[in-house]
Symmetry: C2
Subunit: 220 residues, 2 copies
Amino acid sequence: MNTKQTIAIIGATGNMGSALSTALAKGNNRLLLKATDKDKLNALVDAIRSTNPQADIEAAACPTDASWEADIIILAVPYAAEKDVAAQIREVANQKIVISIANPLNETYDGLVTEPGTSAAEELQKLLPHSRVVKAFNTTFAADFATPVIDGKQVDAFVAGDDAEAVATVSALVSTAGFRPIEAGKLSVSRTLEGMQLLLITLGIRNNYNWLAGWKILHQ
Amino acid sequence: MNTKQTIAIIGATGNMGSALSTALAKGNNRLLLKATDKDKLNALVDAIRSTNPQADIEAAACPTDASWEADIIILAVPYAAEKDVAAQIREVANQKIVISIANPLNETYDGLVTEPGTSAAEELQKLLPHSRVVKAFNTTFAADFATPVIDGKQVDAFVAGDDAEAVATVSALVSTAGFRPIEAGKLSVSRTLEGMQLLLITLGIRNNYNWLAGWKILHQ
């Protein structure tokens, strides 16, 4: 992508939202950040600018405003909040790429709240039928963005979606964030990707990965 | 495990069966190998003995015979054949560990024949209600057994099951085979593990991994 893209990040001050904002500000992107807590959002913008003075970032007043101007919309809100945000952006997200980063974990982090045979990404696609939903950044922990090389290897990050051009565009963002993009297939592959992250979270809690861990496909 | 275990491998001359037989003959195991083609089976036994003269291996006449004597039974047959084998060993596999290595791929290798909300391993558990079914060796390709270190890292191999003692026993076999065992949780995690291998197969076909690839969890 040589043309500057505008990316809306809804939920920018959360764990994942701030990691994504910091990482994607490094690329040729204009970022529109939306968060409920304005003071926290201003602090995030200041923090990004302090290490990256060229960053093209601004705070947006509401999800609709941010999405209206954006080429790509990232929902960095908890899964339970997606329905509400989707209702707000449904019209302005028409034909746009919407990135689903959510893992639909239950409250005890040992299962998914989605039914078998679907995924958070597919549910979001149902809520935004005229958008191009792409699954990405759900298998990377927030801390991985600062350390995308773990134990000597670049962490893989999986991208899945039904629109090939959208998948390619999001894969470029994954590269900007420092990960190796793996184009994993159709949006329904999100079922596996969300299951994988539930597994990684379970293993991380049990084995003390300290929320810094990632998947890697080894091949020659 | 210091005591010698007897392991039945049903379908020993297949791609995975012969890789498993060769690998597990290196441990403190007695192997009972069953295959339909007796000449091929004798050739496999000879091949294992030629590089591993101490190997304690013998051919078994039928799945029931092999399983009767075994502590652990590995079904290295295609998923479609498991129902038939399970019917034969149902009685003699009582209380024993039965390892499900199957990936229930469709004929075009781009989907699973199992319904959402279940897995090959869980279906096998239904067929063998009095056995302790453990999922293992489904995310490792046959060629990985000869090369369990790929691109400088030891390949991970996931073990899932509802019986903790059985999972620990199978994890030791995974180590014998040269992989890093990852205890992944309950048998239902097999849904994710089987989905992961469908994904790895899809990626391998598209990106020419040449059936030598594996999963790795990177952590510090």
